[in-house]
Symmetry: C2
DNA sequence: GTTTCGAATGAAACCGGTTTCTCAATCACT
DNA sequence: AGTGATTGAGAAACCGGTTTCATTCGAAAC
């Protein structure tokens, strides 16, 4: 008659002729167990391929080493987000925790709790913290506050009327400085007429515009940006911006795009008009997403350290949990990646060939 | 004096003047609770923002609605994998479960269990199933078998000496048929000399080659493929293949690349030599990864339904759990996406301009 | 040789739910 | 009105660990 498989500490205890308390001590590497007892217990565990029940452990421990990466209103197939996730997962791998990956979609005026909410948020004890990535609205943050669960927000894509980055529980990168840097780079190549192309209704693009504007100084007039709103995709926005650029700012010699996808659209628009990059016009993107890696010409862009953002978010979450108090926001720098889409200014201007 | 926050069913029971059993019944929508009792309990729950302890629930339930998406030896920043993850997450959202996302790196001869193994695998009860994505080796599968945990494998990227797809517990897509289809498409455009470029040491690329070969029929000689192995990246492989192609198969008018990244490298190689696509030569990729979306010319390719694969894997896992027996593998079809990188054959051949 | 202390171990309480069993109250039907 | 079936609700066991507390035992201290 086959013996019942060993599943619990009780089974181990019985087999080894000790109490469950001792088995538990062995499991948790408690020092007060004699070497020979420990060895015997371990032996039984090994031979029965015993794996402790995680739920029972957590029930008594009162917590979990598990956080939730919640991607709001965005798709993880977009490398920007999956790379943040990667940083998060790296950190948890590092400290021995887990990440539950979930997504949610909601509007700016959604009410919470609601049915769109993943179950994991509704229960207590599933997770010890929340990492809010993607695009978020204040209505959801208000709800998360009420949950009394530690959380860290990806600060750049919070939709508010303000330009400042969120002050607490958040990790952001310095969008203004990145755009400033890119603009200075173009200036130093000799460009005077630099046009920003983007959707200024979005705070994150607006911040990039601000960086651009301060770098431009007196050269920037309110009209020096091409501001297209409510476009279905950034690529489309870029494409549509090109005819406007040619019409309104024909003397432009360099473009700073709100992001890489927009730059791709602009590139496409240029190609249709026979405008060559970088010979006729220079262009700088923003984000350094994976999707541009095979582009020709290779796009000069402002690299956002996505993995680092993820890692920092996870790290800040841990610190928040320990400190039990809201910590200062972390702001991460960007890096200008110079590739082939920019050239020195050589007395030319946008023109249809 | 402030009352202690309500945290448990006992608190609710006391506040509502009922027993915990009743509270539990309300929580689980058990029918045998009178309307007014139920309402009173719900009222207390609402006002105290009660959220049940998930660990306690799972302890008694003996399981979890949580599976683990384990990405082996690959990076989630690659859209191929993040889109499979997306399909998985969609499914779990649909059925109300969770996905823990983890990665692991190991060699073909790794021994298990080992320290690289995520904690989640070592404990029992954390997850109710395993979704094995990325590139896997038999050594790991053997270990997972011993775990007695339901699992589903992404079948295409299992490293074996064989060409067949795994027979059980797996979801795959039909690589052979996809390559066959692409090759027929090129033939119908009038191309006779079609060259396959790839690394034939990898079973998954080998399968694509097989599809190509059968479609070519008698036209395919053993030399009709450019087989480059041990390249650090597929892009580099593609780039290096171009000079070989020009040297060995100068009469080639169309290329089937092992995957999209390789196609990008080939495209780059062509550009360096002044060979125009599709005017001088046609090219078809494979996978339809997100990274090619901004390419010019837009790449014709074999689309692999990544989200669908993820969804099917998750679904199969559920069925496996219920049925308690290994199910037949699922094989998913591909779709040829015709874009701009192929043209009708017009009596030309590869030549340096 | 007794006292004292720390190490090793077991018994039992506990974590926060679910579920079975039991029983009282209500309802349907003859 | 009497009987059996059904419904509503509580007491207690249970899920599988961890932890506190008490106890035993041997070694060191006096």
């Amino acid at each position: 008659m086959k013996k019942r498989a060993i599943r619990t500490v009780y089974d181990i205890a019985e087999a080894a002729g000790v109490s469950v308390a001792t088995v538990s001590r062995v499991l948790n590497k408690h020092p007060n167990v004699s070497a020979k007892t420990r060895e015997r217990v371990l032996e039984f565990m090994r031979e029965s391929e015993f794996r402790p029940n995680a739920n029972a452990r957590r029930l008594v421990a009162g917590g979990t080493e598990q956080a939730c990466f919640l991607l709001s209103n965005r798709h993880v197939a977009h490398s920007f987000h999956s790379r943040i996730l990667m940083g998060v997962e790296d950190y948890f791998q590092h400290v021995g925790g887990h990440v539950v990956f979930t997504t949610i979609e909601y509007g700016p005026d959604a009410e919470f709790p609601n049915d769109a909410l993943p179950r994991i948020i509704r229960q207590r004890g599933d997770i010890n913290g929340l990492l809010l990535a993607g695009v978020n609205h204040p209505c959801f943050l208000k709800y998360v506050d009420r949950l009394h669960i530690p959380y860290v927000l990806f600060g750049n894509n919070l939709v508010t009327g303000l330009l400042e980055l969120p002050k607490k529980n958040s990790v952001s990168f310095d969008e203004v400085a990145g755009a400033h840097h890119a603009t200075v780079f173009l200036s130093e190549l000799g460009h005077r007429r630099i046009t920003f192309i983007g959707d200024l209704s979005k705070p994150w693009y607006r911040r990039r515009y601000e960086g651009y504007r301060t770098a431009m100084g007196t050269r920037a007039s309110p009209e020096s940006a091409i501001d297209i709103r409510n476009e279905e995709s950034a690529f489309e926005l870029g494409r549509k911006a090109v005819p406007l650029l040619v019409a309104k700012h024909p003397d432009t010699t360099a473009v700073l795009a709100q992001d890489d996808e927009t730059a791709c659209g602009i590139l496409d628009g240029f190609r249709r008009l026979g405008i060559r990059v970088p010979q006729d016009i220079s262009i700088v993107g923003y984000d350094d997403i994976t999707e541009i890696q095979y582009l020709h010409p290779a796009l000069t862009t402002v690299r956002v350290p996505k993995e680092k953002i993820g890692w920092s978010m996870a790290e800040l979450l841990s610190r928040t949990r320990e400190g039990r108090h809201a910590l200062m926001p972390e702001v991460i720098g960007t890096e200008l990646i110079v590739r082939d889409s920019c050239a020195k200014f050589m007395v030319k201007s946008v023109s249809v060939k």
